[in-house]
Each structure stands twice: as structure tokens, then as C-alpha cells.
Amino acid sequence: MRFSVVVEVQLREGVADPQGATIERALPHLGFDGVDGVRVGKCIRFTIDAGDEAAARREVDELCHRFLANPVIEDTDVRIEALVG
């Protein structure tokens, strides 16, 4: 089966995010008040072949841990969806 994968890489809680802080500081100047907790991460999309969704998740988790994120400073959030056809 083929699965569509979205990996969101975020800085871990407590790790300073200068990009997020800069964006947050800029927002009131543009008239956007009340926006809080801005964090900047990255989004990585790909497709993967696997026997089932659990197998796909295992493979993606390993991929995230070894390569896509640096566990010292980053966390990942993985979304997997089976592709039809």
C-alpha cells in the first residue's frame, strides 16, 4: 500500500524560537493584536510504500528519529493517510 505522509518538525517546548518571537513581535505593528504563541517549524511531505499503516508509521518514526529531526532540539508530529488507487 502507498501512504501519504506529512511530518511537522517543531522546536521542542522550552527551546528558544527566535523566528517565532520575531514574527510575534511584528504582528501588532500590522494591526494583528492578540496573536500569541507563534512557533516556526517545517513541514516535510512524501509518500511511502508499506504493508499497512502501522508498518508505515514505524518506518516514518525511525526516519524522523535518525534524519528528519534533531531530537536534541526538535519534536515531530506525523500524519499518515492511505492513498487510494
Partner: protein, 227 residues
Amino acid sequence: MTTIGVVLFPGSNCELDVMEAMRSLGADAKVLWHGDRSVGDADAVVVPGGFAHGDYLRPGAIARFSPIMAAVDKFAGDGGPVVGICNGFQVLTEAGLLPGALQKNRGLKFLCTTVELRVATTNSVLTNEAEVGQILRVPINHFEGNYTCSPETLSRLRDEDRVVLRYVDNPNGAMDDVAGICNEGRNVVGLMPHPERASNPLLGSTDGLVLLRSLLVSAGAALSRRG
């Protein structure tokens, strides 16, 4: 003659400067291609600055999987002196040879300036010829130089005297003013500043020479141990 191997990834750009600086001290210097599976007859290895693999994903994230890095890992594991400068420091943290990570600078500015460093320990392959407290003027040139690690790791680094160099006036937000650290064996050092760019009066400072000379001494010791 002592031989310094300098790793060349696609996107490295300080390898010639490092080789020139090491040769000015009387060493032999040669390139270690990223596809090589051995460090050959190198008595010490330098992972130089630049933008290995374009810094894509994260600085050092792709470079660490190069065949040469497995050889560098083994060389370091056998006690061989290894120094990562700037991007090389980032590669060594990604490879797990040094703890922690290098984040974007506080203030989000690419920093290209000369800073003052204070030698924090002389018990490392990069500082054995220096003196504790010695102030060195050495250039920095980075966007991701803000050293970070877990509080536990930081206390270990402090307790074990593994912070090698500190900034006098912290330019990038690095924890505990860290400019350079070493591993438990004290034979692997990573630092953000570029000692090779402070190795000749023409460059405005020769303060980096004491660091490079230390590496040469360590390499010589490794050479005589090997026979």
C-alpha cells in the same frame, strides 16, 4: 611528518585555509574526500567550515551520513584528535561525536566579525598549548552558532571541565557563553570560531595559531603512540 586530514564535503569552503594554516606550522595536510571510507595516514582530522550539502534540512544533517564520517567516528573512538570548526562543529554534533546542537543565532543575524574568546581549559587537543584565561581574538562567521543542550548535559560539561572556549561577550545567545566543547575523551573538540582565519598577521590576528599548534602537538603525540 605529522599529517592533518581535512574533510571535504560538497559545500565545504574552509578546507584550503585550514590546510594552509597547518602547513605554515610545519604539518603536512591533505584532503579527505567525503566519499572516502578511511582517514588514511592522518594523525589528526579537521572537519572544516562551510555549508556541507548546502546545510539542507539542518547544518550537518546530511554530511553526517557520508562514508568518511564512519571513518572519523572510528578514528575518534580510537583516541585520534578530531576538531570541527564552525560547520564542522555542527557536523560533529549531528554525528553524535559531541553533545548538544547549534541553533539559529539569537537575533537571527548572520554574524561575521572578530570576537574575543577565553580559554576555559587546556585539557583538550585544541588548547593544550594555551593557558587558562588566555584571551584570543578569532573571527566567527555563522548563522547557526547558538549552542544549546539539555540542562543535564550542560552541568556535565561544566562538572567535567569540557567547555573548552567561552565568548567574552556572547554574540549569538549560546548557553553558558559556549564557543567550543570537547567529548569525554577530550580528543574531539568542536568550536564555532575559525582559528585558521587568525593564523597570519595579514589576517589581522595570529591568536588562532596557539589552537592549531595545540592540535599539531596532539597529532604528533598520536603519531608517536602509533609508532
